[in-house]
């Protein structure tokens, strides 16, 4: 690209965490002034590699060169000095402090704050004008929406004079609009000679902004290719190590009777703030209804209320046309009526991580006679039952006695799905079915959900992954601030339209 030496050259980076070999002799060359994508499944070692580059961990072996010079990065301080800035997936911000304090932290410019603060205000002002990164320096970070919090993270890196910017899953918390704005910024930065490393699992983003893309699989760097010479399906294949179907093939839905309905439902949190605000929706047998929205806009509370886990402040829930009495709004009783739930957070609500897999696999059904009589549990029967579920749902390894926590995210999720689906639901509530799940397992889970729909089950899907919502849903309901802001059919909409609805703007209604 230019005559400059590569911004980053990693050679033979090796890192183990106990038994886990997170990085196996990884080589990576990132050209100066380029946008370089790194893709890979969860646990492929991308984040570990970047943490090593940022000095958060120390590599067991290997060499790092920055702009041609060998460097020894043992702490973030040394990475910052080498011109590396990082925007972490989970923001490294101090929420009760102001934007200025956060940007200043570690770059105070003297023992007293006053002088540095004055200089940084001017600098923030300049960055705001040059890049459109406008922000109020005196705002409390915790009060800002996530999009602006990310802006603070980027400003932190720029203020420290970073030449190399690493972004770890930066779009997970953004609307499509915000993500597009971020990509425009990255392109500007690259055009000014800065180097950008983008870690993501969204192949669409890789194709849209990167110059080069590297693929990691199980701790190894398996390929580095120019983005223009590759395709999403080739990348997916490299990530998983076999061919995968990115698209979900499904026949048109043939919805039956309404199985689950909510009327004027309001759910309040502990502070009394309405999280779900006067929501009405219905779910028919044989259809998948997707609930889209940016995380934290009431979808989780909606799902939990429908599953009987949160009390209603107002409104009612109807199952097969009959309203539920207050005492029927209970997870156990709802299960008895065929309403099963795959919760959003499998580690907190779906499984007990320190339990053996076979114990996690019967949670909620442990009272049933098939798992023992009276107070005595039929352990051999439970183990055999779990072994069968593992076979049917391709849970690996097939070890019913292994601790639940030892399985990968995808396999844990398959275990939860197996447990719930195997009870032949009439209604299945699914939250974030593929969060932290690798592509191979995503394919499996998606096909399973569509198969359930075709069998006539009513499926309610809550997901923050817009692509997933678009691929699976027969109807899409968008939520913003606890309210339903619109409903679309997938063939009549696109990411931009949904993105606006997620931000609370309905262009079509306004045009009408």
């Amino acid at each position: 690209m230019t005559g400059r030496p590569p911004a980053i050259a990693l050679a033979g980076i090796d890192k183990r965490f106990g038994e886990v070999h997170a990085n196996k002799a990884v080589d990576l060359v990132v050209a100066a002034g380029s946008i370089h994508g790194i893709v890979g499944e969860n646990g492929a070692g991308k984040s570990t590699l970047m943490s090593i580059l940022y000095g958060f961990y120390e590599a067991d072996a290997g060499e790092i060169r920055v702009a041609g010079r060998p460097v020894n990065i043992r702490a973030p301080r040394e990475a910052i000095a080498a011109g590396i800035g990082m925007v972490h997936q989970h923001f490294m911000l101090v929420e009760p402090l102001t934007v200025l304090d956060n940007v200043m932290l570690g770059a105070e410019g003297g023992a007293l704050l006053a002088g540095g603060a004055r200089r940084l205000r001017a600098e923030l002002d300049r960055l705001g004008r040059d890049y459109g990164l406008v922000i109020d320096p005196d705002a409390i970070v915790g009060d800002l929406p996530v999009g602006l919090q990310q802006r603070v993270e980027i400003l932190k890196a720029l203020v420290r004079g970073a030449d190399i910017l690493i972004l770890d899953e930066p779009t997970a918390v953004l609307t499509p609009e915000e993500a597009d704005a971020l990509f425009r910024l990255l392109k500007i930065l690259a055009s000014e000679g800065k180097t950008v490393i983008l870690i993501t699992h969204k192949l669409r983003e890789i194709m849209a902004v990167t110059d080069m893309v590297s693929v990691m699989r199980r701790g190894e760097m398996v390929a580095t290719v120019p983005t223009s010479g590759t395709s999403p399906s080739q990348l997916a294949e490299l990530m998983v190590g076999r061919r995968v179907l990115l698209r979900v093939d499904k026949a048109p839905a043939s919805p039956g009777a309404v199985r689950l309905a909510a009327e004027g439902m309001t759910v309040r949190d502990g502070q009394g703030t309405p999280r779900v605000d006067n929501v009405s929706l219905s779910l028919r047998g044989g259809e998948i209804v997707g609930i889209a929205g940016i995380a934290g806009n009431g979808q989780s509370e909606l799902l939990e209320a429908l599953a009987g886990m949160r009390p209603l402040a107002a409104g009612r829930i109807l199952v097969d046309g009959t309203p539920l009495a207050a005492d029927e709004l209970d997870p156990h009783k709802l299960r008895g009526r065929g309403l099963l739930h795959v919760p959003e957070d499998r580690l907190r609500m779906g499984l007990v991580p320190p339990f053996e897999a076979c114990e996690s696999a019967i949670l909620g059904f442990q009272q049933e006679d098939r798992y023992g009589s009276g107070v005595i549990m039929d352990r051999a029967g439970v183990v055999a039952d779990t072994a069968k579920k593992m076979e049917d749902y391709d849970v690996r390894p097939r070890a019913p006695l292994l601790k639940t926590a030892k399985f990968s995210g995808g396999n844990q999720q398959k275990l939860v799905l197996a447990r719930e689906i195997e009870r032949q639901p009439r209604v299945l509530l699914v939250g974030q079915p593929t969060r932290g799940v690798d592509i191979g397992a995503i394919e499996f889970i998606h096909r399973r959900l569509v198969a359930l729909r075709d069998e006539g089950v009513a499926v309610l899907l809550v997901s923050v992954e817009l692509e997933e919502i678009m691929a699976l849903s027969d109807r899409i309901v968008v939520m913003c601030g606890g309210r339903i802001t619109g409903e679309r059919r997938p063939q009549d909409t696109d990411e931009r339209d949904l993105g606006l609805l997620m931000a609370g703007v309905d262009e079509r209604a306004e045009a009408a």
Partner: protein, 323 residues
């Protein structure tokens, strides 16, 4: 004018009683703002009080007593720091250990050395801190209200009282205006943010814990070398815990800590003054009921009058790099 002189005397004694609370409260403030919960304030003050009295007795010099108190208290603080920061132990357990160790050690060593049932020999002359008369105190004493207020409440305390006020000013200023203060505020809320900004989490927390040790040392030495003339077993009498309550009440801020400790000190002074007084309609109130007053008020005030007190988010949590 009898009520006035009574009032002045109560205020004067309120200030004296507030000082050890204030030292301990500021110690807790530094520690907890950095993310290290410290319920060992009580124990650190106790060992400092003992070491202070012992050293002052041995050398005949109050300042040597103060130095010894600070040193021993800081050593105990470092034990807590090592357990809580380096070993990532449970901070409550470690703090309780410090408290229990302090009670046992001071009694044991005191008895072994002096054979006076755990007391140290009484301190006299230069072995104690003497009250300082501020300039002009005697001159304006005659002026109504302002005069006695200045001469008796403001003036006429030992140097440690003024150091306590100075420590409050410094604490507030350092936290708000300096690089160290910013970093300290940040590390108590989100140590990962501090770590990724290239700053040592451990270094900050150890510094804070040592500062807490120094302040507890001042508080302990005040008890035995300034307020009293020697060490008595368990002479801290729960002040370290009241200081923790004051810290919550002050929402981990320096100026409110000063105000709260003065309030608690004043309540204490009032309760002492009320002992044996016949209250119209009730008769003589039992001493125990009056002594319980500050504690009861603490509970009531904490329960109902300060709104939500949100502690530093990372306080009590050892910092472990995520994987």
């Amino acid at each position: 004018m009898d009520w006035l002189s009574t009032g002045i005397a109560v205020f004067d004694s309120g200030v004296r009683l507030a000082v050890p609370l204030l030292f301990a409260c500021l110690a807790g403030l530094w520690s907890e703002r950095s993310g290290v919960v410290d319920i060992g304030l009580e124990g650190k003050m106790l060992v400092a009080a003992f070491a202070g009295a012992a050293a002052a007795h041995a050398t005949g010099n109050a300042w040597a007593g103060l130095g010894a108190g600070i040193l021993v208290s800081t050593a105990f603080a470092l034990v807590h720091g090592f357990a809580a920061i380096s070993q990532r132990g449970n901070q409550i357990v470690s703090g309780v250990a410090v408290n229990m160790l302090a009670v046992g050690l001071t009694a044991l060593v005191g008895n072994a050395w002096y054979k006076q049932g755990g007391r140290t020999p009484p301190l006299e002359g230069a072995a104690r801190f003497e009250p300082i008369t501020l300039p002009g105190a005697d001159a304006i004493r005659g002026v109504p209200i302002v005069g006695p207020l200045y001469a008796d409440v403001i003036s006429g305390h030992t140097v440690l009282v003024y150091i306590a006020v100075l420590a409050t000013v410094l604490t507030a200023w350092v936290l708000a205006r300096t690089r160290f203060g910013l970093r300290l505020r940040a590390v108590g809320e989100n140590p990962a943010a501090v770590d990724t900004a290239g700053i040592s989490v451990m270094g900050l927390r150890y510094t804070a814990v040592v500062l807490a040790g120094v302040l507890c040392g001042l508080g302990g030495a005040y008890l035995s070398v300034a307020q009293a003339a020697g060490f008595l077993t368990q002479m801290t009498a729960g002040k370290g815990f009241i200081a923790l309550a004051a810290l919550i009440f002050a929402k981990w801020r320096a100026w409110p800590a000063l105000a709260t400790c003065l309030l608690f000190g004043l309540l204490d002074a009032v309760s002492i003054r009320l002992q044996g007084v016949v209250v119209p309609g009730i008769g003589q109130v039992p001493v125990q009921a009056i002594q319980a007053l500050p504690y009861a008020l603490t509970v009531v005030l904490l329960a109902g009058f300060i709104g939500r007190a949100i502690p530093p988010r990372a306080s009590g949590l050892p910092y472990v790099k995520e994987r």
